[in-house]
């Protein structure tokens, strides 16, 4: 399991944009965050990569989506949220048998809290805000994972 923090970004070149978008057209992402600003920001980042994005305002909404039969390739999970936080939601999803890639995205700075969040079942962890480099990395790993299955 890998953790990362905000890396310096690189612009998407015109030539690679089309390739990236075409490769990601079938990938569905769930952004789970109680901040409307973060939801908007991550939604935009992900759409630039050609991903289909849905948002949830807290962990419970995310879990309910799966209970009702939704499925996602990737979940971006905030930690601190009302009603159900990211750690609890991640544990719940893994207990339900959800095998989607779950990436924690939070501004946590305590190593113990980060560790606990990872142990809840995350695949990766990044510090907010996400950058295009972070998303590129996540998508590379997601494509590797999908190619193995």
């Amino acid at each position: 399991m890998v953790s990362g923090n905000s890396a310096s970004s690189s612009s998407l070149s015109m030539k690679s944009d089309e390739d990236i978008v075409n490769n990601n057209n079938n990938l569905r992402v769930l952004v789970v965050d109680d901040s409307p600003m973060i939801r908007k920001l991550h939604d935009m980042y992900l759409k630039k990569f050609g991903l289909k994005v849905q948002v949830a305002e807290n962990g419970k909404q995310a879990v309910d989506l799966f209970h009702f039969g939704a499925s996602f390739d990737l979940i971006l999970m905030d930690k601190e949220m009302p009603i159900m936080d990211g750690e609890e939601a991640t544990k719940e999803l893994r207990t339900m048998g959800v095998t989607s890639m779950i990436v924690g995205v939070t501004s946590l700075d305590s190593p113990n809290e980060k560790q606990a969040f990872m142990e809840a079942g995350l695949d990766y962890f990044f510090t907010k805000p996400l950058t295009t480099d972070n998303i590129s990395f996540i998508l590379q790993e997601l494509n590797k994972k999908n190619n193995k299955n």
Binding site: L41, M44, K128
Partner: protein, 150 residues
């Protein structure tokens, strides 16, 4: 060299925001996400930031009125505020948030209060400058590409 005087003014304002340390690289990332389909994306995100941050500032103000200080709560609020501010590249505001959190950790109430006053000043300054910037941006029309500060 930008010929349109309004755009030149906009570029000058933008450069000043970076040169004076109000904004960092994260703001450039926001600009790079803006496109023809979402021409006001940056301003929309910043507006959401104002809403988020106003609520958190109020929470901190109320918490500072209660004695003794709940430093854990104050730290948690400021942690949220710092995260929000980082997302738009609010460099000075983010720096002052860190100072405040250090005072929380050392249980220094006076330090917290001083730091919070300074933070509110930095926030108000940034907000004023960004509001002026976006007002000019709307008049100038869409910019072609985001350019990184030198």
């Amino acid at each position: 060299m930008e010929r349109n005087p309004m755009r030149r003014q906009l570029q000058t304002m933008r450069k000043s925001l970076f040169d004076q340390g109000h904004l960092d690289e994260q703001f450039v990332q926001l600009e790079e996400l803006q496109d023809d389909a979402n021409p006001n994306f940056v301003e929309e995100v910043v507006t959401l930031y104002y809403r988020d941050s106003a609520r958190i500032i109020l929470n901190i103000e109320q918490a500072l009125e209660r004695k003794p200080f709940d430093f854990n709560k104050l730290d948690a609020y400021m942690h949220q505020f710092k995260g929000s501010s980082s997302s738009i590249g609010a460099k000075k505001v983010k720096a002052e948030s860190t100072v405040f959190r250090e005072y929380c950790r050392s249980r220094n109430g006076e330090g917290c209060m001083r730091s919070f006053q300074q933070l509110k000043k930095e926030y108000a300054t940034l907000r004023r400058k960004l509001e002026a910037y976006f007002q000019v941006a709307r008049q100038a029309g869409p910019m072609e590409t985001a350019c990184r500060p030198k």
